[in-house]
Subunit: 426 residues, 2 copies
């Protein structure tokens, strides 16, 4: 990219971009450039009306009848199948339910049980030190439960943290039960090669769980193409499902009918309304559900999903890469002297859809940016994180965001005391 | 109660009842008498506006900033403390989070770990055969996980089902780890003596989990007064939180800082935004949380809670008993010849806030009632279930509902083929 790039040129490119029209499908506040869609996606037009319909009509007028008449009962699998089209899933392999943490617990427990039957010496869960922390904590919680309630003797279950591809290769071995990785790293934006890593783990006898929180709707994903075993992820980031909207779980059909997952609530029962006094699991992805879902939050997900399904995913990916390249280029040229260090891989095939820079005053700089309407976020340690969401961001937005960043750095306006005050959520 | 009771007398009693005004706080559709608030509570006025505020303002305009500025991060504990006032909880003992099934898993796992440390021979979870099935299934899932991943030798964990108070006394013993009961039975409306049973279980060395799904907001509950260990329950029944609104978990402070619960997601971490690569649990009720909650569904709970907190719980209980007595009396006198058999205990101290009758054509009769606007529900086997919610039901409603039931039974209008067709959710 040439350094003489101008805002006018970028605006011309925006005008001829077929994805530009998608921005009108979202409600974005005036004066905001939203670079945090990788944390909470924007509000799709239609989501508020869907919520109002659920509350006023389906709940208020339909009352209990809406479990049948409004299709509430079928919603987790119906929306799961819609989402599955973005993930290379077959029908009836995906459910929208519970949270990413809980779904990870289900998949890890299912994987450990499968290994216990097939290769009982395999007791190690491998994951990344730099994974989103809840993934590590959930693996630790599962291992700790089993070890602490188990008999005293014998090999304990263990969570082993790897740091990079080389240490992953070293770690995969005869004791590995399951490998759990985030396809796109929440902090750096680095992306694993799903096909290659899955094949390598399988050759080592491990099962593989992919956390797609920062991947679903952001990068092309083909779970069956990669022959993955399990996947989990989030609907409130690039899928624009709404704050805390329920997460998803995908299970390769070959794991549907072997073992229970332990969060075996009534929605995972083969006949939930028979009210039987013993558990019999469903023989499909329903086995990986648990209890009743928050209908209003769940229903809104469909609005964001429908928009995502209208867009061509390869065009979304191409624009994501272009906008991220542009953002990196502009920061590195126009803000060159202010000590921002790129932590996201430059190679296209090794990154997702956000760009992160390290700066020792990252927290204060991000606080100053947010006050100026450029909303990214901050992640420990010292990382300014910028989500690139091609459905509602333009090249001109990227230009304007970097100009505001440059001004903040140039004037030193981030050095106000109030910017250093930490919020509950940082 | 005299048999010469008339609708006019009932209407006069309604007119002078201080709780009558609460009905205006709910949106109830014309032509409906809603006797299923024990399954899904009615829509409080204000809930739709709260949902619209979350979606349009907090999500749409506030975007990611609303985790701080709109108080999303604090909501599970803030609403938990509000709810706790109805349950005899101390501040910071209650969280609104996840589902009842998941919260039960957390409490049972925490109880088993505590017993493993204090009395390792205690490996039996006692619950009721007639419990809401998910409670049994979750206990089975936990025992199955631990047994299957455990070493081969040793005493397995076990779920033991009791049928009544006598068999509970027989079952409580030196191998009992935890007793998990529903305070009010979902089908029959029968209520356990929380104080007496908790004391008896403690004397036998067991910990006690109460499922308050059909009790919270329906009957007076004093968890600390009963010295209970754990409680879980539902906000979408008598608390009118909305379809599938997140559930609650209450943990006696003495269990806050001993052991991990295994669903140890980042919201249960002592410093969730430190992004530490190992788990350190919070030392309060946050330890029993897991992941991000569905904000829109969660926020609406506050509207129902505020109404419940305005009402005097002893007045609510007195009216519930009066309405239920009236309903039973009217069914047994005015529908005497149609074979309806009461399955709910008659004694006030032994029942919650719904009344159930058995009839071999219960399914069809309920379908006919619903078509006439008298909405109760059906539970296998053969049980017609009627929820009595004093905040929005009057004595006249009870009279009218029984009159419609009588007409359906008298004319045999329930004998239409379409009434026998089973829905997905029955």
């Amino acid at each position: 990219m040439s350094k003489e790039i101008t805002r006018e040129e970028l605006a011309q490119l925006d005008a001829s971009d077929p994805l530009t029209g998608f921005a009108e499908r979202f409600e974005l506040p005036e004066g905001v450039i939203y670079l945090d869609g990788n944390s909470l996606g924007a509000l799709p037009k239609g989501a508020a009306a869907r919520a109002a319909q659920v509350v006023n009509e389906e709940w208020g007028k339909g009352l209990i009848r809406s479990w049948n008449s409004a299709g509430w009962f079928e919603m987790p699998l119906k929306l799961g199948d819609k989402l599955g089209k973005l993930l290379g899933a077959n029908p009836n392999e995906t459910a929208i339910t519970d949270t990413t943490s809980l779904n990870l617990f289900k998949t890890l427990a299912s994987a450990l049980r499968t290994q216990k039957a097939d290769a009982p010496q395999r007791r190690v869960i491998i994951t990344e030190r730099d994974n989103f922390p809840t993934d590590i904590y959930i693996a630790e919680g599962l291992a700790d439960l089993v070890n602490s309630l188990s008999q005293e003797s014998g090999i304990p279950y263990e969570v082993r943290l790897i740091d990079d591809e080389a240490s992953l290769r070293d770690a995969l071995g005869e004791d590995t039960a399951v490998l759990a990785l985030s396809h796109v790293n929440y902090r750096t934006g680095a992306m694993w090669d799903m096909v290659g890593i899955t094949a390598e783990a399988h050759r080592a006898g491990a099962l593989v769980v992919w956390d797609l929180a920062h991947a679903a709707g952001a990068v092309p994903v083909d779970l069956n193409g990669a022959d993955a075993d399990y996947a989990v992820g989030c609907t409130y980031k690039y899928l624009n499902g709404g704050p805390g909207s329920p997460a998803f779980i995908w299970v390769n059909q070959r794991h549907h009918d072997r073992f229970w997952q332990p969060l075996s609530g009534w929605w995972s029962h083969n006949a939930p309304f028979a009210m039987a006094d013993h558990y019999t699991p469903a023989n499909d992805v329903r086995r990986f559900m648990c209890g009743t879902q928050p209908v209003t939050s769940l229903a809104m997900i469909e609005v964001g999903l429908d928009i995502a399904l209208e867009a061509d995913m390869s065009a979304v990916r191409a624009k994501s890469l272009e906008l991220t390249d542009l953002f990196i280029e502009l920061v590195e040229t126009r803000c060159a002297e202010y000590g921002l260090e790129l932590v996201t891989p430059r190679e296209h095939e090794r990154r997702g859809s956000h760009a992160s820079f390290r700066h020792e005053h990252g927290y204060e700089i991000m606080a100053a940016l947010i006050e100026r309407g450029v909303i990214g976020d901050y992640r420990e340690p010292e990382v300014l994180r910028f989500g690139i969401t091609p459905l509602y961001l333009s090249r001109s937005d990227i230009w304007d965001a970097v100009e505001i960043l440059r001004e903040i750095l140039h004037t030193g306006s981030w050095q106000r005391e109030e910017y250093a005050v930490r919020n509950a959520v940082t």
